[in-house]
């Protein structure tokens, strides 16, 4: 794009040349960005590509996996020939929070024992408390970790799940918002370029990450006959002269390629 000129600032390559072109060089360093799209639209893949690019450049990268168990992620990208073993992962599925080497991923214990009705009611309550800790926990883990390793790229996949699984409606929405604000602020202060994925929210509702992230990349998929047409669009991007058009992309053997 021509009009706005950048005030300088370091750019961070996403690992997708076409997307970098759309962004006028890449994301700006140290800011959180939002990637939205329906399920299956390629959000996670975009995030992983972003992390792998970081690895390639010798950076420290972290995946906060909420949606999918890390081992599945590993298997999923096997088709692309990607090696995720060096990606640090914070497995943020409820109940198991720990930073592990990807190689040492353990099966996730999802189910607990049957409980009595009374216990269940107590359980949900406790769960809510625990969730409340989920965002908090991520932040605290990161803070601990930052002491030793300076991460430069973090992908949170996905914020929607964090909210859905971790922050139940019983929790004060104000608290949820402030915690998300705090997490993003923390990443920003740590000079981390972050991608946060989310499924598009109800168009009538505004989520805190929409307000707080400095840019948004939208992935869409529409069906034309039997074929799906995937498109990527930069909805907003502060301080970047960017491409306002929708561009087609494919997820193929080379990964995520923007045409």
């Amino acid at each position: 794009m021509n009009l706005a000129e950048d005030g300088g600032g370091e750019r961070v390559a996403t690992g997708i040349p076409g997307l970098d072109r759309m962004l006028g060089g890449g994301l700006r360093k140290g800011r959180p960005y939002l990637v939205t799209g329906g399920s299956g639209s390629g959000k996670s893949l975009l995030g992983l590509t972003f992390l792998l690019e970081g690895l390639r450049l010798g950076e420290e990268v972290l995946l906060v996996a909420v949606d999918e168990p890390p081992n599945e992620i590993m298997e999923n990208v096997h088709a692309f020939g990607w090696d995720l073993s060096a990606v640090k992962t914070l497995d943020a599925n409820p109940g198991t929070r720990a930073i592990k080497r990807q190689a040492a991923v353990q099966e996730i214990r999802t189910m607990t024992d049957l409980k009595t009705m009374r216990d269940i009611s107590q359980e949900t309550k406790r769960a809510a408390d625990a969730e409340d800790i989920a965002i908090q926990g991520i932040q605290l883990k990161l803070r601990q970790q930052m002491g030793g390793v300076q991460f430069t790229r973090v992908v949170v996949d996905s914020m929607t799940s964090i909210r859905r699984f971790a922050v139940k409606s019983s929790v004060d929405p104000q608290a949820e918002r402030t915690e998300i604000q705090s997490l993003l602020r923390f990443l920003s202060e740590s000079n981390v370029t972050a991608l946060v994925t989310a499924t598009p929210s109800d168009p009538g509702v505004l989520t805190p990450e929409e307000i707080l992230t400095r840019g948004e990349i939208l992935l869409t998929r529409k069906w034309i006959g039997d074929r799906s047409l995937r498109q990527v669009k930069i909805v907003r991007m502060r301080g970047c002269a960017h491409d306002p058009e929708r561009r087609p992309f494919v997820i193929g053997p080379q990964g995520f390629v923007v045409g």
Binding site: N2, L3, A4, E5, D6, G7, G8, G9, G30, R31, Q136, Q139, L140, Q174, A175, R177, T178, E179, Q181, S182, R185, F186, S188, E189, N191, D202, P203, G204, V205, L206, P208, E210, I211, L212, R214, E216, V235, R236, M237, R238, G239, P244, E245, R246
Partner: protein, 707 residues
């Protein structure tokens, strides 16, 4: 859109989805305050100050003087830590002192931002710094993150109430979800500006509208905008439907009055630039950066890269808008032209950022011709002073006078464009000179004015080349006086193509000064042929035998000299004709007028003089290749009307352009005229009406005037 601006000392909302430019618009508001010498404060709750600054490099000079209060909550510590009141810890600092890096949460304490603390902070800061403009970015973040334990709606209401008690003009940005939901705070503000972003098929449309504005009239339509380096750029000329979200072609409300012609002879951007430049030169500002941009624009326009040229022009305009701020506040008192120019610049700077339509750029040939002209006016540094004033006046007067009488003249195109803006400038500089003649000129012109509209069409084309011509034309209106002054001025700058024709006419006029009085009418006839040059001449001959002289002209321009005088005799009627012509005849009328000026009484003298001038002019034309092409276009348009009837012969156009002067050279000129001829055909449409009416009207009208 706001009918002059916001009503002071009240809170307003800017509502829109993220990424529509709310923050940018708010910053523009603050920067405008800084330019006014006010104090402005940004309270930021979303974007860290360092990012705000680096995201808006285009606003830099003013933005650095804006104070910013960083009200972003710190990272939470999920352990016990002393909380401090934000108002006690932080205070507003100018952007220039904001560090490069993001603020880090202090190790030991964490600051919680609450709405009560913010209110307290605002109260003390407003008292301390006398802020007259405040932007709070954003109210939504405030509600989301700073109202723990408050009812969000009630909190917003109290906050707005608090702001209006502060008696400061405040803008709050509000993040809106994509789908429009009425939120309570919207009912509380005194005004609301909405920003829209729609996805239409694959196209993103951004539009801005004033939803409400208490205590003031406002534009209720939606207009598209884009976000450029210096902020929002709103296209007021285009309206977007709220229902269908499609672009509605707005009736030419915006430019119609200004141009007085169906065409848009001068792109507003160029017009603004031209005025700005002449004022800047008057004031003695450093215009080198602008010239550099213009030169770059010209270079790309020559290569046919209109897009790049447009960018450069936009930058030149932006530069022009910022330059006045850097001038020392000198010469404030006097009524001199310099003071007037300063005032005009201040007024432009005030309105420029908000209401300025996006750059509209003419076809490449016209663009190049104009740019070349502007640069040639700028380049002679020594002459600059002398030249600058002249062109400026010329432009301005042209519009005024032009509209009436001049319009018809080829330069007219410039005039219409200028007309809108010119009004102001013209008043200062030219007003004096033209004033006397104007009275006369106006009289004649007024009648013509009505007609001019039709005529304008031809003229507009002229406009392209016109700029040079404008100079010459400018003077023409004033006729005698102008002539005396302009002549010299014209010659040097005018070297440019169009000027020739105009010059010729103007010169005659000068001499005609006497004509003006009595000849006015007579002149008009004779002049019309001359001025109309191509169109007029050809038209008359073809159309009505009634105008034998005209016919003669049409046939052989060279002969015209003799015929012209004869025509004048007949002509007497023309003025009335012009009047009568008002509508249809108008075309003819203007033509007549033009002719009158040039040829009429003074013609003989002019003839003597003109030849020389024409010669000079002629050479000039060839010299500037670019202008020439433009000329053809212009000529085309003008010629078209006249030629159309005749079948647009080369002769026709030639005659039209530089009839008198050309006589000698005429045939040679034919070549150029030919060029014009080609374009002429397209113009045919306009011509038909003109031709038809002229034939009829002229005869009738003339009689009346003759008496």
């Amino acid at each position: 859109m706001l009918d002059g601006g916001l009503v002071a000392r009240r809170p307003y909302l800017i509502v829109g989805p993220s990424g529509t430019g709310k923050t940018t618009l708010g910053l523009q508001f603050l920067c405008a305050g800084i330019r006014n010498g006010e104090h402005a404060l940004l309270v930021t709750l979303e974007e860290p100050p360092n990012e705000v600054r680096s995201n808006h490099p285009g606003l830099a000079p003013e933005l650095l003087k804006v104070d910013v209060f960083d009200a972003i909550p710190d990272v939470m510590r999920y352990e016990r830590a002393p909380f401090k009141d934000i108002a006690a810890v932080r205070s507003a600092t100018p952007f220039e002192r904001v560090p490069e890096a993001i603020r880090r949460t202090p190790e030991l304490t964490s600051i919680e931002v609450t709405i009560t603390a913010l209110e307290q902070m605002l109260r003390t800061e407003v008292q301390r710094h006398a802020y007259s403009r405040i932007v709070i970015d954003s109210l939504t973040a405030l509600q989301y993150f700073c109202m723990k334990g408050f009812d969000v709606v009630a909190g917003a209401q109290t906050f707005l109430r608090f702001l209006s008690d502060l008696r400061v003009t405040t803008i709050l940005t509000v993040e809106a979800p994509l789908e429009d939901v009425e939120t309570p705070e919207r009912m509380l503000a005194r005004g609301e500006i909405r920003l829209f972003r729609w996805e239409l098929d694959d196209l993103t449309v951004r539009a801005i509208g004033v939803e409400k504005l208490r205590g003031s009239a406002h534009d209720i339509r939606l207009h598209p905008y884009r976000i450029g380096p210096t902020g929002l750029d709103i296209n007021l000329a285009v309206t977007i439907s709220r229902d269908t979200r499609q672009i509605l072609e707005t009736p030419p409300l915006a430019h119609e009055p200004a141009s007085g012609s169906p065409f848009e002879p001068i792109p507003p951007t160029l017009q603004v630039l031209a005025e700005e430049l002449s004022d800047l030169v008057l004031v003695g500002a450093d215009i080198v950066p602008i010239r550099t941009e213009l030169e770059a624009a010209l270079a790309s326009a020559r290569l046919g890269d209109t897009e790049h040229a447009t960018q450069r022009l936009t930058r030149a305009v932006a530069l022009g808008a910022t330059l006045p701020d850097r001038l020392p506040a000198k010469v404030a008192a006097s009524d001199s032209e310099v003071a007037l120019a300063l005032r005009r610049m201040a007024a432009r700077a005030e309105t420029g950022r908000v209401g300025q339509p996006p750059v509209r750029v003419p076809e490449p040939p016209i663009l190049t011709a104009r740019l070349a002209k502007m640069l040639s006016d700028l380049n002679p540094p020594g002459e600059a002073v002398a030249v600058a004033p002249i062109p400026a006046p010329v432009q301005t007067p042209v519009p005024e006078l032009t509209v009436a009488s001049t319009t018809p003249s080829p330069p007219v195109a410039a005039a219409p464009a200028a007309s809108g803006l010119p009004a102001a400038p013209s008043v200062p500089t030219h007003a004096p000179t033209p004033s006397t003649p104007p009275s006369e000129a106006p009289l004649t012109n007024p009648p013509s004015t009505s007609p001019p509209p039709p005529v304008p069409t031809p003229t507009p084309p002229m406009a392209g080349p016109a700029q040079p011509s404008r100079v010459s034309h400018g003077p023409p209106p004033p006729l005698p006086r102008a002539v005396s002054l302009p002549e010299p001025a014209v010659k040097p700058p005018s070297g440019s193509v169009p000027s020739q024709p105009s010059t010729a006419p103007s010169v005659p006029h000068v001499h005609p000064a006497p004509h003006v009085a009595s000849p006015g009418t007579a002149v008009s006839h004779s002049g019309s042929p001359a001025h109309i040059t191509s169109p007029a001449h050809p038209a008359p001959p073809t159309h009505s035998a009634a105008h034998p002289p005209s016919a003669a002209h049409g046939t052989s321009p060279g002969h015209h000299a003799a015929p012209t005088p004869a025509e004048p005799v007949h002509v007497p009627a023309p003025t009335p004709a012009a009047e009568t012509m008002a509508t249809a005849p108008s075309a003819a009328a203007p033509a007549a007028k033009k002719r009158k000026r040039a040829p009429s009484a003074s013609r003989k003298k002019a003839a003597a003089v003109t030849p020389k001038e024409p010669e000079t002019a002629l050479p000039a034309i060839p010299v500037t290749p670019e202008p020439v092409p433009s000329i053809p276009l212009d000529s085309t348009a003008p010629s078209a009307p006249a030629p159309a009837p005749e079948v647009a012969l080369a002769a026709g156009p030639e005659a039209s352009a530089p009839p008198r002067p050309k006589r000698r050279v005429v045939r040679k000129k034919k070549a150029p005229s030919v060029v014009g001829a080609t374009p002429g055909p397209p113009t045919e449409e306009p011509s038909p009406p003109s031709t038809a009416p002229p034939a009829e009207t002229p005869p009738v009208e003339r009689p009346p005037e003759a008496p």
